[in-house]
Symmetry: none
Subunit: 231 residues, 2 copies
DNA sequence: AGCAAAGGGTAAAGATTGAGTAAATTTACT
DNA sequence: AGTAAATTTACTCAATCTTTACCCTTTGCT
């Protein structure tokens, strides 16, 4: 696994320094913010693997940041606090934190908890990616990278396969062009990039001979949806 | 969400009883095992959403169970222990536990931690899509960008969809033209801009064939309201 | 009531944007 | 080098968004 990107939000610069050194030596890449506002800004603009969030901060405190991020942020959050207060812990977890560690903490335990969270994320995001998907006569098997339509094989290129896979994983849910570009082509979507359109076009063509009904619906200005079609 | 299935592995029957009662009252479905071997057996044969695992048990202890389950079990594990020993916690987390709570614990905190883990799993397996909105026979699904009126599809353009979405989210609440312009068209409202009026007009027209009653009410000089209509 | 002014409804025209795709080019792999 | 795949180019066309224009309704004033 490539170095996980962590975001540390803590007003204690000295402690941050120490922690930064420790975690960097453990192979993480760490960004530090010393107040809630810049921390929140960072969290919203950059995609981190995990956020370490101190509760006690002047201005925007940890709970405020948690609230501002909303309940469904994708990035896991580990809260740090000087208080050992239990109701505090409960509140943090209810607001959307994933774990809670009281200061002063053992760096080893912090490390272990960070790893535990990242491992869970890793397991869960890889799990779905290996199970075959069957929808409406189309079967896609990630393990063998084969796709069949009504049991007959459909020969897709690697990118076409991944694109179809991502769409089928998100059945009846829009997958934006940005998402397709980032997840499949591994680069941000650029203006006037017609590459995705091309691949979609090719996928559609390869399926045409088997079935006339269009499974991949275009959502103009947004992306594409793989439709289950049972309406 | 349907009731999460939990597995409790703890040799302390009395405590298990209490915990079982508490968690059941919180809407979980709980299975108890009183030793490591049966616990391991259960964990392997049935698909639980979360395992609560006591460390101190005669025979196979919590760590042994953890090891036996292997590093990449899909089910998250929360360990419970009488010891507050840090190295113990670190060991547990390294062996694949997702969280660690020392006895005696506050039931509220346990509950919060259980929920935090389940929420993380939920987010990562992305079952938490943006929820469809249903009002008065009209259903709007943000995920697939589809709108139906009395189960029949209504074909809206992107802007029309977003405008209706914003109005339906603010049921019975006025949405100003300024708001509509900024949120949907991404620009400040200008004098003599009739664009919003046009879109509203088009939305109304597309719904006319299904129902005569007007859902979108005009508030002269201010904006529009989507009416729940039950008065 | 009468009137003027402002705001909204909407058809139609015009402008703009985004998608489809053939073909050419580049890239990546053998 | 040879080949398959991916990307870019270039062009068309269709969807859809905006503007215009005209009419109707409401509001507020005398």
């Amino acid at each position: 696994m490539t170095a996980a990107k962590l975001l540390l939000i803590d007003d204690d610069q000295e402690l941050s320094e120490l922690l930064s050194e420790f975690l960097t030596s453990e192979g993480f890449s760490l960004t530090c913010c010393f107040d809630g506002i810049t921390g929140l800004e960072q969290a919203k603009t950059t995609d981190y693997d995990l956020i370490l969030l101190d509760v006690m901060m002047p201005g925007l405190n940890g709970f405020d940041v948690l609230k501002a991020l909303g309940g469904k942020h994708l990035t896991p959050i580990l809260m740090l606090t000087a208080k050992g207060d239990e109701s505090d812990r409960v509140l943090g977890l209810e607001l959307g934190a994933d774990d809670y560690l009281a200061k002063p903490y053992n760096p080893k335990e912090l490390l272990a908890r960070i790893k535990a969270i990242l491992r869970r994320v890793d397991i869960l995001t890889n799990k779905t990616k290996s199970q075959p998907i069957q929808i409406n006569g189309i079967e896609l098997s990630p393990a063998s990278r084969e796709v069949t339509c009504l049991t007959k094989p459909v020969l897709l290129t690697g990118t076409e396969f991944e694109m179809l896979h991502l769409l089928m994983e998100n059945l009846d849910t829009i997958v934006s062009k940005e998402m397709l570009s980032e997840q499949v082509l591994n680069r941000p979507l650029m203006a006037f990039d017609r590459s995705i359109d091309m691949h979609i076009s090719n996928i559609r063509r390869k399926f045409q001979q088997f079935s006339s009904e269009e499974k991949i619906k275009t959502i103009r200005g947004v992306g594409y949806v793989f439709m289950s079609g049972d309406k």
